[in-house]
Symmetry: C2
Subunit: 232 residues, 2 copies
Amino acid sequence: MNSFTPTDRSRVKRLHERGKYDEESVFALLDAGFIAHIAYVIDGHPYVTPTSYWRTGRVLYWHGSSASRMLRRQSPGLPVCVTVSHIDGFVLARSGFHHSLNYRSVMAFGTAQIVEDPAEKSRELDRFIDRLFPGRRASLRPNNVQELKATTLIRMEIEEAAAKTRTGGPKDDDEDYALDCWAGVIPLRQVIGQPIADPKLRGGIGYPPDLAAFHDGADLCEVLAGNAEKLD
Amino acid sequence: MNSFTPTDRSRVKRLHERGKYDEESVFALLDAGFIAHIAYVIDGHPYVTPTSYWRTGRVLYWHGSSASRMLRRQSPGLPVCVTVSHIDGFVLARSGFHHSLNYRSVMAFGTAQIVEDPAEKSRELDRFIDRLFPGRRASLRPNNVQELKATTLIRMEIEEAAAKTRTGGPKDDDEDYALDCWAGVIPLRQVIGQPIADPKLRGGIGYPPDLAAFHDGADLCEVLAGNAEKLD
């Protein structure tokens, strides 16, 4: 099993038993999401922006961001921290102190660089669509040269990454189990709603079979994880 | 209307018409969420961690984080960027280039400091429970002195903040409307699932009326926004 090697930067310190560094755990959490929060430093100050991302092997990609101008001036690249979080539930205990959250998160570290190679750029922008909406690209007007030029693509090879998860119910102090207090887990999920057709949609175009997984009530993590399996 | 005054740090540059700086817009987005991604700099390197937060006026609070050790060595405080994002839907256009996302996000900047005042600490930890689960505190065993000591509470007065949102359908190139391609919006929401009682729950304790808003299928943003109204 391939693993990332944690240093002080990525090693899970608080509740370290919740940390994992193997590719399988890290990739599964990355592939089940599509929004990362990406942190970088400009003039010594921290910034974090939410951004759609995708993964090819150990490389994460995302579209040009507010860090792009910075990146253009800094050719060796910009150190970044990319965090992806899935919040799975509130954990309600019998004291405020023992309330908690169930979650799955990944912190990945690396150096962001602008992709200059047109072939990599074109291939990866296609992959971005394919990983979200498999089969959809066949019905789209392909990217043209101006669009490829206008898009800044950023890549970051994952140098270190840690996955951290919490599951299960509350853990209370022994004497608190006697309290007259409801305790348990209130689950949370990100779900898909009823698709809304563009009012300008041409007559006769129905909801396409390649979007069938995106139906009202579907679990987003499951849909994305299923898409990732089709890619690899 | 009170507003934050943007500088280069918070001013929305890309698609600036999507940016708002008034307290009402910023606070509404903060109050409809409970997980922030908090970025800070240690030894010149960026870090971002997902954390539960709450708001009292222009101050954001959260529990001790991996930045705490750093903070203890740096008494004037640590510059941080706090980002809260709600992802509302995929926007499917007729070309890859025009695909987009509907979202509501806030970036807030300030200086993180450890709360040392026991009264503020006790009051705010209570508020954390009250803003999530109004009425619940009456049934909990109150915090004890050791727990208050063991909890690091962090405060950040918002110095600058920007809200940024996108809503609505795809905007395609004129000639692409003729394509045989489905386009529209696939909504996304964070919803509550069926509550799971702790297996160690004492007999006779039912799901309490004060958690009634947390029912299967409820929209998390709406529940949290409703809770915030009860607080103010």
